[in-house]
């Protein structure tokens, strides 16, 4: 579990640091340092294991069913990287404490740094590939926070987003690659993957797998053509650059290259893809670095170049090359970190990083200058420094490979050229900054930095020296175990020494040195030439084009589809429905018409149908003359209810009729506040299109109805007919179904009604509409709102209507009728009062608020259902019995009746609420109000 803890500690530390930071700036630094030390101490006891040649694997089940475990692995390679991450991390923590200014939030910085450190540690210690990917993406995310640390700077924001986009792309590609790998191997554990290396290389999916994984590697390690994000990430504070671009972020890519080396390497695809990318990056980076005037820009491109070198080494796929690659990872980390820190010091003390202004700093900060010069020499590959050793090995391998390939001389030539440029830009770093005349109007006079800011640089430079002079005594064992676990086989024969005799590699080094000096001497014409065409090769341009293109495209597509038009939504839905409904018939296997004999049509029905269709067409035709349309649609409803009568559905007929009345009243009230005339359609084409669609839809439903009606079917209805009386205690089967067999539906349906009422009530609260005093023709409305005769008549009718309603409610269980119809009739009766007598009069005599009715209705219905629990029956179980009372005689009492009462109340309540609410909207203009007073 130690490994898990070591990885998780920094994540926990992030929170700790953020919290501590409130109580003092240095405390955040101290906490961060403590956390880092903690991880180091956790790993320290395990140190001997890799050197003893044992690989430690610790595993906790996470998603065992998917082969996704929390699995950690400590071997030589992991150890090496863990050492770099934590060791240099510690130095960065110290350095940043003095680098960050008072304005910068320590908490945010160190918290993000800890997050990043933990993610990096997770990558290098992962045994499970998916887990590795998780940490991989976490580095992308946390580096986003670090690069965008100075969020008020535009280049910081854009640099961060670019880094995230590019490395994110790699991450998702790599997920695909790992999925394929797991698919091939059947496991995501590295051990299993190593075991089936040959199987993988032989697998047909090898090439896609390799390509996807390499995409991840190249984006992360800033390999050509994905290198462009790295220089823009320099907008980050220098400690971040020193960390991300020396030992960590960008090294994650080459780490993975090393990790999967035994699995994926050794094929021509690997050789060509990896080494060509590496070589291109090596050259491009080295060349561009020379012409950067920004100190950090130079270092950035030099980093790119060195990453290319490492990639190239792994691409060459000889064991020795791999060893050299691992070795150079160590060396580059040390000298590059120190160089970044030095650059940071210079920036910090001199206030600029522009090498055209930074000159002759030697006399201001000789000590820092010395350190920087040593590190730069290591970068250039000067003997006695660590950079020299790995570069020698690199040259040797280049030569070695070249013997096997046609035109092999090309490789040594090119790498020497790259070496020469490395020398050149290293010289420039030294000469332009510390010598080369006087500084040019620096913001402030530079001086040596505070003591502790230099310590990290000293340590790293010291490492460069000792490794460079006595490699065998220092780095050798670590390199050995790291290289061994990289190759997963016995190490090849090699020995680290300064002097290998006078061999080709040495010659190449000397040539590179000489050429480097030469290039530096002719740098001015070169720079001029370069800058004449520099802006032409900037990968950021295509990147931005791509990104903006994406956003533009998405806007275009979305605006085209989502026009915010309801008509289009309805249109889409209709088209979808037509497609779905028609598709099955295209096969033409089954006939549309069935075998069931039909009823003969009779004249009454024919004329009724004709009337109905005519009325429908009239409604459509007169849609813009709205009152007319309203009247004819009333006719449609009327005929529909007649149809119900005709085909043995008295309940439906009654319901339809009463609903019809209420709906029409509603529409009338509504029309009062809407334009009396519709606007004609501006485009005829639209009418044709919709007409065609309507025709298609109509045909569709007609065909559907026809297909069903002409087919025989057997139904569960028999059960209802049998059990209605014995089981439900009612002879009106429809009603028994409503209140008993399917009472649950009814409960839901009255809830809908109640919701409609409440929703409308809520809407009307804030709705104020003024009624027009004149109609569209400009005639004044009839001032006499409520004719006396009608008023008195309706007042007399009210009790009668209510009586009818009660009667219908009671008999509903056995004869056509029931809660709905009774409720609607009652509602209509009451509404008529409103229409005839006006809201004012009615409100005096009736509770204006019908919400209690709804509450009571729903309550009664629900609690009737719940009551059955008491008798140990399910919800809504009905019971009934026959009572004998004197006078009244024998009559039935059914729980379903109570339920129906609930229905009745809700219907009345909801309908009243809707209609009165709408009626109450009428804010009459003064003149009318006066007239009304007279009428009363």
């Amino acid at each position: 579990m130690t490994l898990l803890l070591a990885v998780l500690l920094p994540f926990a530390g992030a929170a700790l640091v953020a919290w501590v930071a409130r109580s003092g700036r240095s405390r955040a630094a101290w906490a961060a340092g403590a956390v880092t030390l903690g991880s180091i101490l956790l790993l320290a006891p395990l140190l001997p294991l890799p050197f003893a040649g044992t690989t430690l694997v610790q595993q906790v089940d996470w998603m065992p069913a998917l082969g996704l475990h929390l699995a950690f692995r400590l071997d030589g390679l992991a150890l090496l990287f863990a050492g770099l991450i934590l060791g240099i991390g510690l130095l960065i923590v110290l350095y940043a404490r003095y680098y960050l200014s008072e304005r910068d939030s320590m908490g945010r910085f160190y918290a993000s740094l800890m997050l990043f450190m933990g993610s990096m540690l997770g990558i290098v210690l992962s045994e499970n590939l998916i887990q590795l990917l998780i940490f991989w993406e976490l580095t992308s995310l946390s580096s986003f926070l670090l690069i965008s640390y100075w969020q008020h700077r535009e280049e910081a924001r854009n640099g961060a987003r670019m880094a995230l986009a590019v490395t994110g792309l790699g991450g998702f590609a790599m997920l695909g690659g790992f999925l394929l790998l797991g698919y091939i191997v059947g496991s995501y554990e590295l051990s299993d993957v190593f075991a089936s290396a040959d199987h993988i290389r032989a697998h047909p999916l090898y090439v896609p797998t390799l390509t996807l994984i390499l995409l991840g590697v190249f984006t992360k390690s800033a390999q050509f053509p994905f290198h462009f994000w790295l220089p823009h990430a320099m907008a980050a504070p220098t400690p971040v650059s020193a960390y991300l671009h020396s030992a960590t972020m960008v090294k994650a890519g080459v780490f993975l290259l090393a990790r999967l080396y035994p699995v994926l390497s050794g094929t021509p695809e690997w050789f060509w893809l990896v080494s060509s990318a590496g070589l291109a990056t090596l050259l491009l980076g080295a060349y561009t670095a020379l012409f950067k005037h920004d100190l950090k820009g130079l270092l950035a491109y030099s980093t790119i170049s060195h990453l290319g070198l490492i990639t190239l080494l792994f691409g060459l796929s000889t064991p020795l090359a791999a060893v050299a690659g691992v070795f150079h990872i160590i060396n580059h980390a040390t000298f590059k970190a120190s160089l970044f820190m030095a650059a940071g010091i210079i920036d910090h003390e001199a206030g600029t990083r522009d090498m055209r202004r930074l000159n002759g700093l030697w006399k201001f900060m000789p000590y820092t200058a010395t350190l920087a010069m040593v590190a730069a020499s290591a970068m250039a590959g000067v003997p006695l420094l660590n950079g020299f050793l790995s570069k020698e090995m690199f040259f040797a391998e280049a030569v070695h490979i070249s013997q096997e390939h046609v035109a092999g001389w090309l490789l040594p030539a090119l790498v020497t050229l790259a070496g020469a440029f490395a020398v050149a830009y290293s010289i420039r770093f030294i000469h332009d900054v510390f010598f080369n005349g006087e500084p040019v109007d620096l913001p402030r006079t530079p001086h040596e930095p505070p003591r502790w800011m230099k310590v990290p640089v000293e340590i790293l430079v010291m490492l460069c020296l000792v490794v460079g002079t006595a490699p065998a005594l220092t780095v050798a064992p670590l390199l050995a175990v790291a290289a061994e676990s990289t190759l997963q086989t016995a190490l090849p024969e090699y020995h680290l020494a300064l002097w290998h005799g006078f061999n080709t590699a040495l010659v190449m080094s000397l040539v590179a040195l000489a050429m480097g000096v030469l290039i530096y001497l002719v740098r001015r014409p070169l720079t001029a030439w370069h800058e004449s065409g520099a802006n032409r090769i900037d990968a950021r341009i295509p990147y931005n084009a791509l990104l903006n293109g994406f956003f533009a495209l998405s806007r275009f597509v979305t605006r085209r589809i989502d026009t915010g038009s309801l008509q289009r939504q309805v249109l889409f839905f209709l088209l979808a429905a037509l497609a779905l409904g028609v598709a099955p018939w295209l096969a033409g296997e089954s006939p549309l018409t069935g075998k069931r004999p039909g009823l003969p049509p009779d004249t009454v029905s024919l004329s009724a149908a004709a009337a109905l269709m005519l009325a429908t067409i009239a409604t459509v035709w007169w849609r813009d003359r709205r009152f007319t349309a309203l009247i004819v649609i009333g006719v449609v409803g009327l005929v529909v209810s007649l149809t119900f009568v005709k085909f043995s559905a008295p309940d439906l007929a009654l319901t339809q009729l009463s609903v019809e009345i209420v709906t029409i009243i509603l529409l009338l009230l509504a029309l009062f506040f809407l334009p009396q005339r519709g606007e004609p359609e501006p485009r005829r084409s639209r009418l044709w299109r919709d007409g065609f669609l309507a025709l298609a839809a109509g045909t569709g439903t007609a065909a559907l109805a026809w297909a069903v009606l002409t087919r025989p079917y057997e139904t569960i209805a028999g059960y209802f007919l049998e059990n209605s009386k014995p089981g439900g205690g009612g002879t009106n089967v429809v009603n028994v179904i409503l209140v008993d067999f399917r009472g649950y539906d009814t409960l839901g349906e009255i809830t809908v009604l109640a919701l409609a009422g409440l929703g409308i009530f809520a809407m009307l609260q804030t709705l104020i509409l003024t009624a027009p005093s004149r109609d569209t023709a400009g005639r004044a409305w009839n001032a006499d709102a409520h004719p006396v005769i009608m008023a008195t008549l309706t007042r007399l009718l009210l009790p009668l209507a209510l009586l009818v309603a009660v009667f219908i409610l009671l008999r509903g269980h056995n004869q056509p009728g029931g809660g709905f119809i009774a409720g609607l009739i009652t509602a209509v009766a009451l509404i008529v009062q409103y229409l005839a007598n006006g809201a004012a009069w009615t409100h005096q005599r009736m509770a204006s608020d019908s919400q209690p009715l709804i509450a009571w209705g729903l309550g009664i219905a629900t609690f009737t259902g719940l009551a059955s629990w008491a008798f140990g029956h399910p919800f809504l179980t009905s019971t009934f019995g026959y009572q004998h009372w004197p006078v009244v005689g024998k009559f039935e009492l059914a729980s379903a009746m109570a339920f129906d009462l609930g229905v009745f109340l809700v219907v009345v309540g909801a309908t009243l609420m809707i209609l009165t609410g709408l009626g109450g909207l009428h804010r009459p203009e003064p003149r009318q109000a006066a007239a009304r007073q007279e009428a009363h």
Partner: protein, 114 residues
């Protein structure tokens, strides 16, 4: 008779669809009403057509029509009533908020042509 009913349903649907595609709220409401007629009728005749055999148990009756679709239609009628009422008031609300009775709240639908 079946053909006749199918035709009626078809015409109702066509009318409803056409109106539902209009640009002002009132015709759309009318269209939805027509559609609800159509579907109620459709649902009803799913119990097939039968004359003079109401599903009310009595010793006199010899046969009964399928009562279930009737119950379903009754539910459907009430639900669609609630929905229609809601959409009517919403149309008024929209007119008050948007200042006109276009479904998209536009003075002219030139720029909202799909």
């Amino acid at each position: 008779m079946e053909a006749l009913i199918a035709l009626v349903i078809g015409v109702l649907t066509a009318g409803g669809v056409f109106l539902a595609l209009r640009a002002q709220t009132f015709p759309v409401v009318l269209g939805l009403t027509l559609l609800s007629y159509a579907v109620n009728l459709f649902l009803f005749v799913m119990g097939r057509l039968a004359v003079g055999v109401p599903p009310v148990i009595s010793d006199a009756a010899t046969a009964y029509t399928d009562p279930l679709p009737q119950a379903l239609v009754l539910t459907a009628i009430v639900i669609s009533f609630g929905m229609t009422a809601f959409v009517i008031v919403l149309a008024l609300k929209a007119r008050a908020e948007l200042g006109n009775d276009h479904v998209d709240g536009l003075e002219d639908e030139e720029d909202r042509s799909s």
